[in-house]
Structures are given as structure tokens and as C-alpha cells.
Symmetry: none
Subunit: 642 residues, 2 copies
């Protein structure tokens, strides 16, 4: 960028925000600088088609793309990543390109990743004993006879009240104490954080101005980031919020992001996730009439790579043999040191992980499912961008990980979107072939989310539109069966019905993605069960975790071969097990201790070097499976000759 | 030092000690490495002339200096700091260059605030067990079978090597570990800091680039700041440096600085002392070929107010009834949080204090004097801007504080200066009235330092120029007796003799200052002894601490009434007890623990509310004292009628 380059004003709508851009800069880059969020999962390479915007006025240098229809091109749609600015512009970012779509409190809206109503700390089996404690104290005023120093006076009062000793005090508190204690007439509220065996004072306040004790639990997913606001004195979840992980622009899966971090440095990825979490914290606080400073602690669960990047630690060795993570059990860290904007002395806790490819999100899931409490063998299936499977009981746990891709989260598919208002989340095909769909909030549809995708595939398979090999039956004459980008596609909602006036459809590629994902998960389950030599019927309970999980139809999930065909009553959706387990640990020191024990004792089963897995995976690439007899309740169809 | 440099053998006499030196190294540096003490006060700049040695044989590269006479040059004398080694050498260190200052106060040495030669950690009675440990590790390389994460690998190796567990790791180390461990082929040097019961990793380095383990002990005096550089692996003091406390511009005593901090805020005072300490650290490192980053820890002793200000904590309540300090036993603090420029993860330790007016410098003095080891009752007198007195034995300690003012440190007096080159430090008046003075280094005089002031007062009193009431005898006709600033003054060095061409004199005000100071100290001693109902003769040992203390003439200190008139053999100068005790604590965890026990168990005796003290003080305002019979060895003169 030199002075010689011409500069133009680019105005983005609906934000009505104007930024100066230089000639030749892409619209996507300008949007990033303007803090306007535009979807992108291919890293700006013009291949994902998610970053489409509408140029309302001005001159641009376009780039041909098969990802835009003729009609769209006529209407001014461009791929923002491939379109260069040649004059002042007015650009509109359509809703489907902006993930910042509010939930507006409708039923089944943005909080599909974080449903609150069905979680109750009191049912976890743990006692409320949070990592952060708040103590109310009245200290005796000093006199010539009782002339101990301010710090000793405080520490002695805490010891009398709580029995705790060996408490550490950061310098900012030492600096506040003399004036604050006298100004408050020695009526103090003291907040203490557990730092692995010892406690630290993280806040002192005049008792009268003390607000309560709040924490945030975060699940850092590869695709989705979820945060819950928790009252640490009651154990209640006050609110929840979710967003796509902004790192998506650096690559849609973990491996791509590791590579990107090696090429361009870790910093942009770190900044992206830190900003996401700070945004969620800010949003949660705003809605609960708190400020981020009121938050005393954040607990994070996530896969090993996501957590390492968030901490600013290189994940490079995770993808290199012998696949060593930089750390499994991060110590408590001053939140300010990772850029979190909460109480200046607030603490970041991380849920300990199990291996390079099975992170703290799964440890948290185990805690959420309480697999450890029963002698019976249970199965935990976490469905996200990676699928992780745990089989175990109170004595032992065995786990593995398989790459599912972001399809279940509505990402990486042609008309995919997050489960926000307007997302098609349910599809039925009646016997006469009529398609009924439901969009979240009843809004004109904007795309298909993960559960909608699963429903669609299941239904068009059942209706015979898809074969058992997952291919469209192209012999059918249907107006919904079209061609898009040189591949067959099937329209769910016609342009006239949709928010953007564009058809919403599912492509052969989308179906392939979903089948690969479900095959990977099912193969992982099969391998683990074989390793311990038990059958599907011996499983006492199946816990399905993942934001997506709560909203799928069990029968349909079984009938596409994602879940084993067992008694439906044994299958329990536990929602986002990662964030639930993390919350439990923030509220119970015992749970956190248990999590550390489980993380260090769980056995990791490496699938990538296991021949069985490839066999199982190949056999699972059919609908529902090559071995149709494994799915007796799914009607059964013969395996096609392939 | 590279392999290309030639190496030579240098033998020092009279020690008959041989060391290998590289070509071009100075004789002074070689002597230092050989632990041969050679005076030097200019920091090796060829300006003080104290470091002369005699080259008996061999070739050197000389440097012309006006500090050597022709005869000396002919006899082989060189300035060791400016003379480079060009062959094997035999060097003799003449007595005047190796004045190993003993407690009897024979000769002045280089670093009057910090003489190094007479302190030996091995004589402290503690075992070398420093607060900072450096561990060399070879970690097993990870494999598919041994696939623990990097952090666990490191912590397990540390545990195997040291037995230590529960070690904490700051995030900067977590971020360094993955690349650094692989780049160094898993040969690591790990530096650990004790944080009150647990240990923290404060540095990881490739073993090959590891330099050693260094710390700094600092005595923050109201007037003078002293720092010693210590090798924590050997216990040896490598160098020492001193400077005036820059806070002097905000007020010469503690009370004035507290008031100033309340009026104008704490920040300017904090910045002043932090800068002083950073300057001293920088200077010490430069001279020892280290960088401040090589310093792993700083330990600070100082009075309660100085330490609070240094930590950025308001000392305001120390001067208000009930005189409560903000803290007595500061926890270990990340050095960066107080602005110290050392290892980014380095630790600041503080010596625990006893009360608002008896700080960690006195706790350190008790550790330096080892009062705690004997059943006999000893006295510790610390002479600085405040005079603190401790009386005690292995069972108990009692302490008090009295304001002496900065006169003993050469500050706050008309022609005062610190004990640097050119300071008049010794004054004699012959029987015929001739005045002989000595200036440090033999330089043209620039002013009078503390010991020079004491000498002057003692001598002009003995010569009858001052009366027992401390007033000049104005009836004397003397050209040296002048008037300055409306008060009588007495010239020590005439303008023609001085560096600045201005008379150097002592005023009535200076004398009043000194008398108030010595009266306060003596009164404090008297009150404590009365409180425990013992007499001066029952004292087994008197330890005199304070940079100043080492250089005074005991007889004269007694004859002006500063010290009790007891057997001179019982009086031991321990130099700067504060920095010595602090060093001991940095080198011995046991010493630090003992210091904390002593600090919390020592009884503080408040003089300001004690009527006895005012009586004693008033009686001590004469030379040597109102009760002349208390000073039988001082010749005795009648108390003048006042």
C-alpha cells in the first residue's frame, strides 16, 4: 500500500458504516477492517461462496465464479473476497453472509447451542463449592493495641471466616487495601479464586457495593463458540450466547488452522478467538445488567488445538508425529494475560484434555454425562467439527476422535447456516412427495442448519430421491432436482419463499459431506466397541453431546446411520456437554478435581493408525450402512451393487 | 571470550594464587575472578587510583595515568583496572590496595556502602538453598509410546530431578516451551523461584545458552540505596553499587515523603526509587558482563515506608495514629509488576518488617548479626536516616526506632556529600591546632561525608572549639571560624585546597543535626535497656549496622555519645546489615523463614508515646551526655550551666 494508490470510500449496509479503502483492496478486506462481519470459510480464496455481498453502486473489478447464479450476478451479487475496489462503493451485506443474526428471544433461536432450561447444577451430583468464593467480612478497626498491618488484618479475618490460609494477594489488591478498607469502614467483600490448592484474593470491594459472584463457561468449538453466564453463588445459569468461531476465515478445520498459524503466525488466530469470547462476554453482561468487570472467572473447554491457540501456544506439534500437544492441563492463568476483558485479577481456568485429538471439551462431556458414576458401560458421542467418542464406566474410559467436518454445524455446505432465525431446521416429505420445512422463528428461510441437513438427507433417502449409496436418483423427473455448480442439487425452498429470493437447496457435495461425517462417527463407535469386545446392545446408555444434538430426530439420525440402532430410550441428548461440564467444574472444586483425574486416566485410541477404522469407515459410507442388518428398525433396503 | 584469544597464567602475591586469564583482560578483572580483593571505587575507569598493583614479571599493556608517580611507574606499579594482560604475569597486590576492612575500622575501602570482602555466606550458619534454583534437565524425546504433552514432560522431569511437585508455570513459559524444547533437543535449563511453599518456573533456556543464576539484594534506605549482585549458585557477591535515593528531592525524611505522597500522589516517588534500583541493576550487570534479563530475582529490605512506596502502596496510615503499615510481609511479586527490569518472569522478594517504624532492614540486620543464635543479650544499632535499635537474644527481641535524620549519610548538611572519591572522611586536630583531613582516594576534597562529620565534631569538641552544649566557642579568634548563613561555621578545607575552589566547612546547624541524631540513637538504647532492666555492661555484643558504621572511629563515636562507653572489643561493625541479611535470605530459604518468624515475634517499643524517651533524649543532647559519668573513658568535662 503506497501513497500512490487511490483511496475510496466504501459504505457498508445495513450498518451504514463507511471506511476508506485503497484501490485494488478486496471488499472482504475492507469489511474486516471496518469490523463488518462477512462469512468466509475458504480463507478468501473464492471457493466457498459464503462471502457474497451486493454492490449497490460503484465500480469493482469482478472475478468470474460459478458460485453465483446469473440472476445473482445481475442483481449485483459478488464474492467479496474476489472483488476489488475501483471507486467509491456502496455495499450491502445480505443476512446470509452475516452470522451476526440476533436471536430476539424467539423459541428455538440462537440458543440452540446453549439451551438452559434442562440443566440444573443440583442434579449433577456435585456439591456447590465454586472455584471462586465471595466472603463478606467485618474487620476489627485497628487500634494502638491491635496494630497489625492491613494485609495481616485482612488475611486473619479471612482465615477466621473460612479456615483458609496461605492466601496470595496480587499487588493491585495490596495497593487498594489501605484506602478501600478505611473508606468502607472495614466492611469488606473479598473474592477468592482457587489456584490449584491455594487461594488468591482477586477482588476487594466495600461490602455495600458488592454485586454478586459471576463466572462464564465457554466451549471453544472449531466452528462454534458458546458462552454461559453463571451465578456462582446459586449455581444458576443466567444467560447463554453463541457465535461462529471467527477463525473460520483461516480454515474450516483444525488442521487447516494449524497450517495457517505456521504460515502466517499464531497472532491473527489468537486475536480472532479472544475477540469472539470477549464479544460473547460483553453481550451476556449487557443482557444481565452486569459489566465485564463483574466477571471473576472464565472456564474454557475446547479441543486441544483450539485451546492452545486461544492461549497463544503453538499447536504445530499436534499435527506431526508423534502428535504431541503443548499441554493437557493448563494451570489457572490471570485472564488479563490472554486478553480476556473481565475483572483485572480474574482467572481463566481450562478444562484438562485427554490427548492431542481429544480435548477438554470431551473431559467436560464425561463430567456432564457422569459416565464415571455407573458400573454399566455407557457411550458418549460428541458431534461437532470433530466427532469424539468415549466408551467407559466408573472404572475406565476409552476414547477416540474422528474428523466429521463442519456440516453438522451448518458450515461448509452450499446453503448452510448456523441455527439462527430463518434457518431451516426440520424437513418432512409427505407420502405424496410434498416437502414441508420449518424455519427457526418462522422467518422466511435463509439457509439450512445442521439438524435441517440431517433431516433433509434422511427424508430424501426415505423418499427414494437418494439411493443407499448417497447418490441422487437422476432418473427421477422432478422440478426440485436441479444442477448447481456441475453437480446435482435438490431444492428445499424455492426462491420465491426465501428471504433472499434465492433457491435453498442441498447439493450432492453437501450429502457427501454429511455421509462422510456420519460414517466417521459410526466407524469410531464400532472400533471402540470392538476394542473392548462388547456389542451395541451391551451399551447401557448413549449420551449425545453437541449443540446440534439436541435438535435432531433420533429415528432419522439412526436411519442415516449416524447413531447405532438401539432402544431409543437408551439415547439421551445432553446438549452442549462441553459447556455443561465446564460449568459444573466452575461450580464444584470436586468436579474439577475429578475431571483432572479422568483426563489423565482416560485411554486414547488412535484411529489414524488403525486398519479397522478404515474398514469400518468404508462400510459406513452407505445409507444407513453396508451391513443393513445392523439397522433392523430402518426398514431395510438391499445394498446396491457398487 | 573466544577460543581465538590466547590464555595466560597470572599469579597473585602475597596470596600465591594463580588463575588463567585471556589476552587483553585487565589485571583487576583477573583478580576479581581469582577472588583476590583489590580496591576500586571508580568502577574500573582509571580515575580513583585505588587499584594499584605491582607487576613483578611479564608483559602488560599499560595506560598512562597521572595517578602514579614516576617512581612508582619505575617500580612496576600499574593501575590494575587499566592494565591488560599480554603474557604470563606475576603480580603483587600491595597492602594499601587490599585493605580488607575489618570491624576495627582500620582503613577505608572501595565501596564504603557495601564492602564485599568481609562477608561470606558460609559464615552465616545457613546452608546454601537459594530462593531461585536452576536445574539442568535432559528430557526424553516424545514418541508414539511416550506421548505425554510438553508441559507434563517438563514437570515430570523436574520432579524426578528435584522432588518438587505442584510447580506453577506462567503463560509466557507455556508459550515458549514447544519450540524451545525441540530447538534445544530437549536439553533444558529450568529456573525455579520459590513462591512461599510452592515453586514457579521463571525461565527455560537451552542448556547450552544458560549463563548461571544471579540475583540482586537491595537495601532501600531513606537516603541511600545499595545493591549487591549475587551468584546464587556459589553464594558469592560479585559486585556492589550504591546511590542516593532520588526521593530525597521529595523530602529528606520518611514523614516528609509521606506528606508529599499525599499531596502530589505516590507516583513520582515510586518512579524515583524504581529508577534508582533499575539503574543500580543495570550498572552491576554491565560491570559483570551480564544483562538485566540475566537477573532472576531481587530481594529488597528497607524501612516500612520505603518499601511500601516502592511497591506503589500508600504509606499514609503509618504516620497517623494508630500508625498502621499497609503490610509487613509482602508476598513474592512478579518483578515486572513493580517496574523492575530483570527476567520478565523474575520475582521480587521483600524482607518482612516488624512494625510501621521498624522495617525489613532491621529484620535483615538481625539475620546478619545472628542475634538469634546466642543466649546472651546483644544490641543491634542500625544507623541510617532513622536509627533503629534491637536488643535481644535467641529467645526474644525488642526493638524501637528513632529519627536520626540524614546527617550520618552526609545528607542535609551544608557541605555534606556521600562517601565517594573526594569526600572528607577523616579529620584530626593536632595538639598545636593544625587540622589534617583525609579525602577518599586522596582527591581534592568535594565535601564531608558522614564519618567525616562525626570525626569533625568529635575533634573540634576535643579541641575545645565546641562546648559540651554543642555550641561554638565564639570567643576564640580563629580564621577558620566564620559566619555562614547567619550562623557560626568552621572551615575544614580552605577554598584553595578543594575541588570546587570553595571552602568546605561545618555549620552550627550541621552540628545540631548530628547531636540530635546521636542523642536519639543513644536515648533509644537507654530506653530499651531500662525496659528489660539491664545495664550497658550486661550487653554481650554490640553490632553496629549501616553503611556509615564501618568507617567511623569507635572512640570518637563513643566520645560524642553516639555509642555507649563499653569495652571496645564488644563492638562489631557489620557493615550494611540490611543488604547482608537480605542476601542471606536470597541464598537460604531457612534464613528467609527465620526472618519471617523473627519479624512476627519481635516486640516493637513505641518511643513517641514514651515519656522516658524524651527525658533520655534531652539528657543525651550534650557532648557526650549530660551524665558524664556514663562516659568514663572520654576524659570528662563538667556539664556547662545552661
Amino acid at each position: 500500500m503506497t501513497d500512490a494508490l487511490k483511496k475510496y470510500l466504501v459504505t457498508f449496509f445495513p450498518e451504514n458504516k463507511t471506511i476508506t479503502a485503497v484501490e485494488g483492496e478486496t471488499i472482504l478486506k475492507a469489511a474486516e477492517r471496518a469490523d463488518i462481519y462477512v462469512n468466509s470459510i475458504c480463507g478468501g480464496e473464492g471457493t466457498c461462496g459464503k462471502c457474497r455481498v451486493i454492490v449497490r453502486s460503484g465500480e469493482v473489478q469482478k472475478h468470474a465464479s460459478s458460485l453465483l447464479s446469473e440472476k445473482e450476478i445481475k442483481n449485483g451479487y459478488v464474492l467479496s473476497c474476489m472483488t476489488k475496489i475501483l471507486s467509491d462503493l456502496v455495499v450491502e451485506v445480505p443476512p446470509e453472509s452475516s452470522s451476526l443474526q440476533s436471536a430476539e428471544g424467539k423459541e428455538e433461536t440462537s440458543n440452540r447451542f446453549s439451551s438452559l432450561s434442562d440443566w440444573d447444577f443440583n442434579k449433577t451430583g456435585f456439591t456447590l463449592d465454586p472455584l471462586i468464593r465471595k466472603v463478606r467480612l467485618h474487620l476489627p478497626s485497628p487500634t494502638l493495641e491491635d496494630n497489625q498491618d492491613d494485609l495481616s488484618r485482612l488475611l486473619n479475618a479471612i482465615r477466621r471466616e473460612t479456615g483458609l490460609s496461605g492466601i496470595t494477594t496480587p499487588i493491585s489488591i495490596l495497593r487498594e487495601l489501605p484506602n478501600l478498607s478505611r473508606d468502607s469502614n472495614w466492611d469488606l467483600s473479598v473474592t477468592l479464586a482457587e489456584l490449584g490448592g491455594s487461594w488468591e484474593i482477586i477482588r476487594i470491594q466495600p461490602e455495600e457495593s458488592s454485586k454478586g459472584n459471576f463466572g462464564i463457561a465457554v466451549d471453544i468449538g472449531t466452528t462454534t463458540v458458546v458462552a454461559h453466564l453463571i451465578n456462582l453463588e446459586t449455581g444458576l445459569t443466567l444467560d447463554a450466547a453463541a457465535t461462529y468461531n471467527s477463525q473460520i476465515t483461516f480454515g474450516e478445520d483444525v488442521i487447516k488452522r494449524i497450517i495457517r498459524s505456521e504460515e502466517d503466525g499464531l497472532k491473527p488466530l489468537v486475536q480472532a478467538i479472544v475477540q469472539d469470547i470477549n464479544d460473547l462476554i460483553g453481550k451476556l453482561c449487557l443482557e444481565s445488567n452486569l459489566t465485564p468487570d463483574d466477571i471473576n472467572a472464565v472456564i474454557c473447554a475446547g479441543n486441544t488445538t483450539m485451546l492452545a491457540i486461544f492461549l497463544g501456544i503453538t499447536p504445530r506439534n499436534i499435527r506431526r508425529e508423534p502428535y504431541i500437544p503443548p499441554l493437557s492441563d493448563p494451570p489457572p492463568i490471570p485472564a488479563v494475560q490472554v486478553g480476556l476483558k473481565i475483572n483485572d485479577n480474574g482467572i481463566l481456568y481450562c478444562v484438562p484434555g485427554i490427548a492431542g485429538w481429544v480435548g477438554g471439551d470431551i473431559t467436560a462431556g464425561i463430567i456432564a454425562a457422569r459416565i464415571d458414576r455407573s458400573p454399566a458401560v455407557s457411550l458418549l458421542i460428541d458431534i461437532g467439527t470433530n466427532g469424539e467418542i468415549v466408551v467407559g464406566n466408573q472404572e475406565w474410559q476409552l476414547t477416540c476422535s474422528c474428523s466429521a467436518g463442519p456440516a453438522f454445524e451448518g458450515s461448509g455446505i452450499a446453503c448452510g447456516c448456523r441455527a439462527v432465525a430463518g434457518a431451516i431446521d426440520k424437513v418432512d416429505i409427505t407420502d405424496d412427495g410434498t416437502i414441508n420445512y420449518r424455519s427457526i422463528g418462522g422467518d422466511p428461510p435463509i439457509g439450512i442448519c445442521g439438524s435441517g441437513l440431517l433431516d433433509t438427507v434422511s427424508e430424501i433417502f426415505r423418499a427414494g430421491i437418494l439411493g443407499r449409496d448417497g447418490r441422487f436418483d437422476l432418473t427421477r423427473k422432478e422440478k426440485r432436482l436441479i444442477e448447481f455448480d456441475d453437480q446435482p442439487a435438490y431444492i428445499i425452498a424455492f426462491a420465491a419463499e426465501t428471504a433472499e429470493g434465492r433457491d435453498i437447496f442441498i447439493t450432492q457435495g453437501d450429502i457427501d459431506n454429511l455421509i462422510r461425517a456420519k460414517a466417521a462417527v459410526y466407524a469410531g463407535i464400532s472400533v471402540l466397541l470392538k476394542a473392548i469386545e462388547i456389542g451395541e446392545k451391551d451399551i447401557e446408555q448413549v449420551y449425545v453431546s453437541g449443540g446440534f444434538g439436541n435438535y435432531i430426530n433420533i429415528d432419522r439420525a439412526i436411519c442415516i446411520g449416524l447413531l447405532p440402532d438401539i432402544d431409543r430410550k437408551k439415547i439421551l441428548f445432553i446438549g452442549n456437554g462441553s459447556v455443561r461440564g465446564a460449568k459444573t467444574m466452575l461450580l464444584s472444586r470436586e468436579a474439577r478435581k475429578l475431571a483432572r483425574d479422568i483426563a489423565s486416566s482416560t485411554t486414547y485410541f488412535e484411529l489414524s493408525t488403525d486398519n479397522n477404522f478404515m474398514d469400518e469407515y468404508t462400510r459406513a459410507m452407505f445409507l444407513p450402512h453396508t451391513d443393513i442388518e445392523n439397522f433392523p428398525s430402518c426398514g431395510g433396503k438391499e445394498v446396491p451393487k457398487v
